[in-house]
Symmetry: C2
Subunit: 302 residues, 2 copies
């Protein structure tokens, strides 16, 4: 079943202890798609400027990502610049130029509106709600958000969370949203807002997964070489939803854990290179090999 | 097979967001023993002052912990006072009174010296080395340490690590010891010092386990209510070594992962109460029930 993602397409300038890149392909919708495509057809709803490089267009097209709803607007593409230090747990944003993303108003084609699986990546909650109203037949809508919207748009976020099937947050966002230091209690409070599923991403420490009264925990894939963690959260979400969409309608806790494992392994590849370096040519066999390794690492018998 | 622990017996005064206790029973050897006893006979090598309360003596004796080598010295028992805030990840030490612990010079009885399993909890590395020389027949010696010794006694620590079978550190200690931010690389560097096994404890984020070229990762048991994390690391080590000792001589990676899971579950009980509140009366069935729950939480199928 096909997966729709609504989010940013960006030109990222990133510096980490491992090196730096300038105006590399990035953005939440892009990272998400490169992970989802391993498991299910994926289409992007987004906007770029007229300066969006031809090489990036070909990379996206060449990976079978449906770009019907990727609009080109007069002006420049969204740009983000950031740096990581030490354990690279948190990005320091150096510059954000919204450019054409500022006027982004998603209009879904009938094909996009028919997607059963939808991921609303981090954009303004009002926009997320307007997309939601365009996908009345979507059975599984998940969303992300960010600290800025938690601080300034809490009501819209709560309205959004009450209507989606699932929410994906990082640990700081979950704490900020609920005022709870304890992540299990924070998770339960987010679920109380309405979603049936919540994932709290903890970067190099893995994820917590909440469904109803159940909680599950999965560690990250231990990486010896982290080059650039940019996009890891969206790559996780892409692997997670791609795996779920491939599996059909099963959203049992067992299925969610399996999907989260796929997201974790996808994110591990993301971190091993700048931009899409590791994800762009990733083959299914390479993915499956690491998935097997990950399962060996984390499983044990009583 | 019996397990020997050399470490502190303390009177802890602790304040957390959940409340506070004054001069409660604590110390690394105590927490360790209360977890180990669930799986294997355990004996403590340590020292207390003449002020050590009779109620604490009876609690230790009543749980079958062998106290033959627990000396009473003239003077006062070691006291530690600390506070936790927010997510309680790090203790703020308010006061340390070494008292009789300052002159602690472990002398092992023949019975203790014959223990096949030995845990050298956090004491001065020179003391740990002197204990090591008293247990020539011990087949599995594990040790812990702390930031102070990494800063001031690096050579002694390296000498110690070159002679033990296993090392248990927390993430900050592993980074401090190696100068590596990446925990997998830090872990490999610690292994290069000599031990065959290394565990890096990450508090609420679980553990990383290293053996030879292999790495494994286990999340912590997600807790909704953390009352006091004091002693969780030593409780982990106690559950881990108790489980290994119960299993005989098998120290395969599979066996180490299983033992780490036992340590993680033991530590989860520790955090749910002050001092030994949750550990002191913990029954084997309660432990097994949570171990089963933990295994369900973390396992998934491809």
């Amino acid at each position: 079943m096909s997966v729709l993602v609504v989010g940013s397409i960006a030109l990222d300038t990133v510096k980490t202890p491992a090196g730096q890149v300038t105006e590399a392909l990035g953005g939440s919708a892009v990272y998400f798609s490169f992970a989802t495509r391993l498991f299910a057809p994926v289409r992007i709803v987004g906007v770029v400027g007229r300066d969006f490089p031809e090489s990036h267009w070909s990379l996206l097209r060449g990976r079978g990502i449906d770009l019907t709803d990727l609009r080109v607007a007069p002006g420049k593409t969204f740009r983000w610049s950031g740096a990581y230090e030490g354990d690279m747990a948190v990005a320091r944003t150096l510059d954000t130029q919204l450019n054409v993303f500022q006027e982004f108003e998603p209009q879904l084609s009938p094909e996009s509106a028919a997607s059963p699986w939808v991921f609303l990546a981090n954009i303004h909650p009002s926009l997320q709600l307007r997309v939601l109203s365009q996908v009345p037949r979507a059975r599984h809508v998940f969303c992300d958000t960010m600290n800025l919207w938690i601080r300034t748009q809490k009501n819209e976020l709560q309205a959004l969370f009450s209507e989606v099937a699932g929410v994906v947050l990082n640990d700081q966002e979950a704490r900020q949203l609920t005022g709870e230091d304890n992540l299990v209690r924070a998770g339960r409070q987010v679920l109380a807002l309405g979603p049936r599923v919540l994932i709290i991403k903890k970067g190099e420490h893995g994820v917590l997964l909440f469904q109803g009264s159940e909680v599950a925990a999965l560690p990250a894939f231990p990486l010896e070489q982290v080059v650039d963690p940019t996009g890891a959260g969206d790559t996780f979400a892409g692997g997670f939803m791609g795996c779920l969409a491939q599996g059909g309608e099963d959203i049992s806790l067992a299925s969610l854990k399996r999907a989260a494992a796929h997201g974790i392994v996808a994110a591990s590849f993301c971190c091993e290179g700048f931009s899409l370096d590791r994800l762009k040519d990733l083959r299914h066999e390479q993915f499956q090999a690491r998935l097997g390794l990950y399962q060996d690492m984390v499983s044990w018998k009583t």
